[in-house]
Symmetry: C2
Subunit: 376 residues, 2 copies
């Protein structure tokens, strides 16, 4: 299908950029001497997973049990659910394990949760492997590295007859707070040390700690080394986005997803163009604006080349309307009512979540639809 | 199913509050002497539609053709698509009309679009009815009231052999910029006058103008009268939300939807509780904070009563994590890891869009699931 015939808004995926990003990060993990466990919370798509992780026995990361279920049913068998679990999720995790024989790695930072999960596992006659979440400086969640709390959770796991300690994990989300690559590198070192030290502390106390897992796209891009880490997690690198561009983690033309939108009106008095891509189509994430305040809700790009129009971005969004101020009247001729543009997203994880599928574009035509899973 | 057994996050709907809101707005429309054309872009659910509009031949409003398709397939036959259309949507609109015999009212503010839509209709041997969008002061889109532009679009419709002028419509989105009800009332009067004057101007020029459509929840709540208006559109009143509460349009206990979330961790050092309701589960809309800066991403409420815990809101969101600072340590006992809360949304249209379905709660149990449609 030609783009101009396609109903809008819709989510476009450039498979060549995707593949380039995949190859780049695979090489990066190889250089760092770690296994890559791609975080598929960004694409939530089996077709994208097949590009990023062709070997279905290789490790992947997800953020929800719905994703775990979807990828396990799709043949993936080593799945880390990276957000801490709760007792009301244990039954679903068990169902996935039983139906698919996949290994589901759960996460917690709480001895209290370990005991509750164990009781639930007991009722279900199920067993689970856990990673302990370590706080490497973001202060969102996790026990402090090599702390008594860490050992407390590990002891609780040892006491839990249905649960097993599989290792430790951390995520340096605070790497998003700087656009200086050297500072991202320093945060990467804190992230590495947090799990490496925690693993050493667990082993010293007599615990096994096979998996030592760390990562965020900015830290993996900038780590000097990952000694003591067994696996790196990163997700947004698959598509990149304007937030990552604002952090100097990617180039604009690495961004593999965009929203195809139509011009639905000209507001000549207000000197703006109205698009059918609004708050739902773009999301209300404006994370890129911390470092690039001209991004607003996204850079507006030429529909064919995908190149940004200098100075054009979506300034205001309503549920189904996006407003693009234009510097002069000539834009009303350049972008007539009914014409199309692409808009680059602030945060691809958020923007993609509004869509059922990716429209894969080659040579200016939609050649395939790749479904994705959303919700919980 | 008991709430505590339910996997989280999920979207809860209180059907009694929904019905109360429906009855209130029906009475309001009756008082104002107008037909209510509920905007179903908020619920996007046939089950909710059946409560709000039991007579399927009665008028409804939608924001996307996917919604139009869904409601038409569900039996609704008078559907206004309230966002301006584009040529690439004409074929879908035609398919809906042919398959369901529904009346699909399209919207535009552009003579250029009228000509392009007519050419497309010609190819499809289809015909369409249009409303002309009028700008009543929001300056988002629409022609100025009773302007030459208005008459220009009407003339273009007269010249378009496959298209018919059905009337005019406007939306006073700028009613969201004040929380003073008298000011919302003044904006309601501007909204009313904009379409009433436009209808008069069209009729003077020899055009038919059967439908004179206006509305937003705040203006319909505060209009003194709607003389010259035939129908009122409003949507968010079905569920209300914290943004509308911040505008003094509803009470907290009118809000009919909330997100059920679990406590997944305690950050004792950071004095916060971690929920599994983050940016995807709540959306990143923070519209209520203009007037109520303590809302952040949503008020945290008792899971049973639904009453807000004074001082507790979701301050920070990550994709699947929500952080709730707590004033003192006692909250770690009140809300242990694994316990549940409800979170009220800033903007129900945005929050609900992340979910496939509503979990209908009666007497503390989920008694039914009502599916909804998302995307485009």
């Amino acid at each position: 299908m030609k783009l101009i015939e396609a109903e809008t808004p819709r989510l476009l995926l450039d498979p060549q950029r995707l593949q380039r990003n995949i190859d780049m990060m695979a090489a990066r993990a190889k250089d760092l001497g770690v296994t890559l466990r791609p975080h598929l919370k960004t694409p939530k798509s089996l077709k994208v997973a097949q590009c990023a992780v062709p070997d279905k026995s290789a490790p992947i990361t997800v953020s929800t049990l719905r994703e775990a279920d979807y990828f396990a049913q799709g043949g993936y068998s080593d799945i880390l659910c990276a957000a801490a679990t709760t007792p009301n999720k244990i039954s679903h995790a068990n169902k996935i394990q039983r139906e698919t024989c996949s290994r589901i790695l759960l996460v917690t930072d709480s001895a209290e949760m370990v005991r509750a999960a164990n009781a639930r596992a007991d009722e279900l006659k199920a067993s689970f492997e856990f990673l302990i979440e370590v706080d490497c400086g973001e202060h969102r969640s996790g026990v402090l590295p090599a702390s008594d709390d860490l050992l407390g959770v590990a002891d609780a796991l040892k006491d839990a007859s249905n649960l097993q300690l599989a290792g430790v994990m951390t995520h340096a989300g605070h790497s998003y707070t700087t656009n200086v690559r050297a500072e991202q590198g320093a945060i990467a070192e804190t992230e590495r040390a947090a799990v490496a030290d925690s693993a050493a502390s667990l082993r010293n106390a007599g615990h096994d700690c096979a998996i030592v897992s760390a990562g965020s796209s900015p830290t993996i891009m900038n780590a000097a080394h990952l000694d003591g880490v067994t696996e790196a997690r990163a997700g947004v690198y698959l598509f990149w986005d304007l937030a990552q561009f604002s952090l100097n983690c990617c180039a604009l033309d690495d961004i593999a997803v965009s929203v195809l939108a139509s011009v639905i009106g000209h507001n000549r008095a207000g000197k703006s163009i109205v698009l059918d891509a609004g708050a739902l189509a773009m999301s209300k994430d404006i994370g890129a604006n911390n470092f690039l305040p001209d991004v607003k809700y996204g850079y507006v790009c030429d529909v064919e080349s995908g190149a940004p129009y200098a100075g054009l971005s979506v300034h205001t969004v309503y549920q189904e309307h996006g407003i693009v101020p234009v510097p002069d009247e000539s834009w009303f001729d350049r972008l007539p009512v009914g014409s199309q543009v692409r808009v680059l997203p602030n945060h691809s994880c958020m923007t993609c979540a509004a869509y059922d599928a990716y429209d894969v574009v080659r040579d200016g035509e939609i050649v395939e639809q790749w479904p994705r899973v959303n919700g919980w």
